[in-house]
């Protein structure tokens, strides 16, 4: 090859390398920008759900209208009606309200407002017979209007609040009576038909309980199965078939596990429907192969010299595996488990089949209480007509993404920590 040819050859090689580099960077940029668009979309429409709009109302806790006095027990207070003083305060916002519009005026606050008043009074009993300003949740339509999620310039018959309500709202806003607060109830409330009251309390607890059941079942079973298959089982046809099946199970669509759960846990064993117990069982079945496979890989990666060293010292097979091999395989196993669990956390289809798609308006506490889970909550709210649920849907996705990111970073942390320690 002459030096001229050599030069052409080299140039060609450089060009190929640059081309490869360009395609690589192009693909990464594309992927990152799609992710960026997705996150921007979710965050921009979801962040407002973490705040709620309230109105400051002057309330007169009149003992005659409430039918209580300073000595009334808590139970009786809870049973008494706070509606009258609430309506009185609302009607006072505009004393010239025509009779027909009064109902519209009363509707500017949430249906929960009367209970909010009751809760306020229970904390401030000294306010009896006094006039005090209380912040009450606005109806979801005005909440959305205030957050700018709903345009104010469309015709009255095409929006869910009237011109009269809009006028009152604007007046109050001008007097700084409309305030924005952090939406704690979004985290503590269960689902509701009223968007301003709906929260992820039920689905958050449901997800945690479901994952707990899933972890308790799948982690020990998965690890023991992996250790036995990898270290003790004789290598024959049966173990080969088991191995192939485990690998196949990891690829089975999750909805199939849902059908299995429906057929076996609900219809055969009559376990309670819509509960984290059954959800956890189904997800455990799904997660098992996803724990067994990384655990076996981690065991396989332990150098044989470690096993030989222990065996040569007269350690039994079980001692060798439990004292020396398993601890080395733990980081890989743990990160595999966490990633399996984070997949389970995001699973929707199998849980819908076992009835976790039901409308649950109480926060569950035990694995046998009916409950929803976060991804199913997203699915439920995304179907709802009210505009207030749009931001809730995105906010739930934000929470879900937060948990997934947290779990995955914990997996990476574990892996790095233990790897650094022993190599």
């Amino acid at each position: 090859m002459t030096s001229k040819q050599k030069e052409i050859f080299l140039k060609k090689r450089y060009r190929a390398e640059n081309r490869f580099k360009f395609f690589g960077i192009f693909s990464i940029t594309l992927a990152v920008s799609f992710l960026g668009i997705l996150l921007f979309n979710i965050f921009s429409s979801g962040l407002s759900a973490f705040f709620k709009t309230k109105i400051l109302l002057k309330i007169n806790f009149d003992e005659k209208k409430l039918g209580i006095n300073i000595n009334t027990s808590e139970k009786e207070i809870k049973a008494s009606n706070f509606n009258e003083i609430l309506q009185e305060a609302l009607l006072n916002l505009d004393l010239l309200t025509p009779e027909l519009k009064k109902i519209e005026l009363i509707d500017i606050v949430s249906v929960d407002a009367t209970y909010e008043l009751k809760r306020f009074y229970l904390k401030h009993k000294d306010q009896l017979n006094k006039m005090i300003e209380v912040s009450l949740t606005l109806s979801d339509d005005l909440d959305q209007l205030h957050k700018g999620n709903f345009p104010r310039d469309i015709p009255e018959d095409r929006r869910r609040f009237s011109d009269f309500q809009l006028k009152v709202f604007d007046e109050q806003n001008a007097q700084n009576k409309i305030i924005t607060e952090f939406n704690f109830s979004f985290f503590t409330n269960a689902d509701s038909r009223d968007p301003e009251l709906a929260g992820i309390g039920s689905s958050l607890m449901g997800s945690l309980l479901t994952l707990l059941v899933c972890l308790i079942l799948s982690f020990p079973i998965g690890i023991l199965a992996a250790i036995y298959l990898e270290e003790f089982a004789p290598k024959n046809k049966i173990t080969e078939i088991i191995e192939i099946n485990v690998n196949n199970l990891a690829a089975v669509p999750s909805i199939v596990f849902g059908l299995l759960g429906l057929g076996i846990f609900l219809n055969y064993f009559y376990l309670p429907r819509s509960t984290p117990l059954v959800g956890g069982l189904v997800l455990a079945l799904m997660t098992l192969p996803r724990i067994i496979i990384p655990c076996r890989a981690a065991l396989k990666a332990v150098p044989p010299s470690i096993r030989e060293g222990a065996l040569a010292l007269g350690a039994s097979k079980v001692q060798t595996v439990m004292h020396n091999v398993v601890p080395l395989a733990m980081p890989g196993t743990l990160s595999g488990t966490i990633i399996g669990l984070s997949q389970a956390l995001g699973e929707t289809a199998p849980l819908i089949l076992i009835g976790m798609v039901a409308f649950i308006n109480v926060v569950p506490f035990y694995p046998i209480d009916p409950s929803a889970v976060l991804p199913v909550q997203v699915y439920l709210w995304s179907e709802s007509a009210e505009r207030g649920f749009v931001e809730k849907t995105s906010a739930t996705i934000i929470i879900l993404i937060f948990f997934l990111a947290f779990m995955n970073s914990f997996a990476i942390y574990l892996r790095n920590k233990f790897e650094r320690k022993w190599s």
Partner: protein, 255 residues
């Protein structure tokens, strides 16, 4: 020499890996408190042979060992024998240093712990110190016993493995090319150590280095293609071997 006691004797030892025969009719006697070197070209069966002596070949599914291996006159190549007891008596040091991913202390304490050799913490501390001293490692590591054994240098790791083997007080120490992964200085240290250890233990060492065999051993066996061609005192083998092939191998003409 009349007062020589035979520690290990093999008779008609045949080893198969599946259908392939790796050792053919090995019948040799290894003498107590001597260092026996096994030399020969790669793949000649030296390692297979010493792995028979502590039944490490049991780990390999397809490996079949036939014939008689006696340690102190007791047959060890029989099915119903607890291999863990043999391995307690016959320790082994491997080609690549393989400390456990534990602290230096726990590396040594592991053997005594699983065999219940120490009654209390003090006993265990003594065993660890004693073993490390015998392996000539104590002075280098006494201040960092809690640090991982994997953090030591290659030569130190190998001495740690020797200390680990000593910790359960075996009769025999098998060494499978213990210096092949080490630099010359670390090698010299280990050879020196072997020389001291033979006072207490019977040592069998597989080596590729002729000079090492000549330096450390009293007896030498020359393996070739799964057969033992010559087994004699080291002096005889290196000065005046009976076999032409042995002569060629030790002078570097083949292998």
């Amino acid at each position: 020499m009349i007062n020589e006691k035979i520690k290990i004797s093999t008779k008609n030892l045949n080893v198969f890996y599946g259908s392939k025969q790796a050792l053919f009719d090995i019948s040799i006697n290894l003498v107590q408190n001597k260092v026996t070197a096994l030399i020969g070209p790669s793949g000649c069966g030296k390692s297979t042979f010493i792995r028979c002596l502590n039944r490490m070949n049991d780990v390999i599914d397809i490996c079949k060992v036939e014939g008689s291996i006696k340690i102190d006159g007791d047959e060890i190549n029989k099915k119903d024998l607890d291999v863990n007891l043999i391995r307690e008596k016959v320790g082994m040091v491997f080609q690549k240093p393989n400390p456990f991913p534990k602290s230096i202390y726990d590396n040594i304490a592991y053997g005594p712990r699983i065999h219940g050799l120490a009654e209390n913490r003090e006993d265990l501390d003594n065993i660890v110190e004693h073993s490390l001293k015998k392996a000539a490692l104590w002075d280098e590591v006494k201040d960092r016993l809690t640090q991982p054994g994997t953090g030591l240098s290659g030569g130190q790791q190998q001495r740690l493995c020797i200390a680990r083997t000593i910790s359960i007080n075996p009769d025999v120490i098998l060494m499978d090319e213990p210096c092949s992964a080490l630099d010359p200085i670390a090698t010299a240290k280990i050879e020196e150590l072997i020389d001291e250890l033979k006072e207490i233990y019977t040592i069998v060492i597989v080596t590729h280095s002729m000079s090492q065999a000549a330096r450390v051993s009293q007896d030498t066996g020359f393996f070739h293609l799964g057969k033992i061609l010559e087994f004699n005192s080291t002096e005889k083998i290196f000065k005046n071997p009976d076999n032409k092939l042995t002569q060629d191998y030790i002078t570097g003409r083949f292998g």
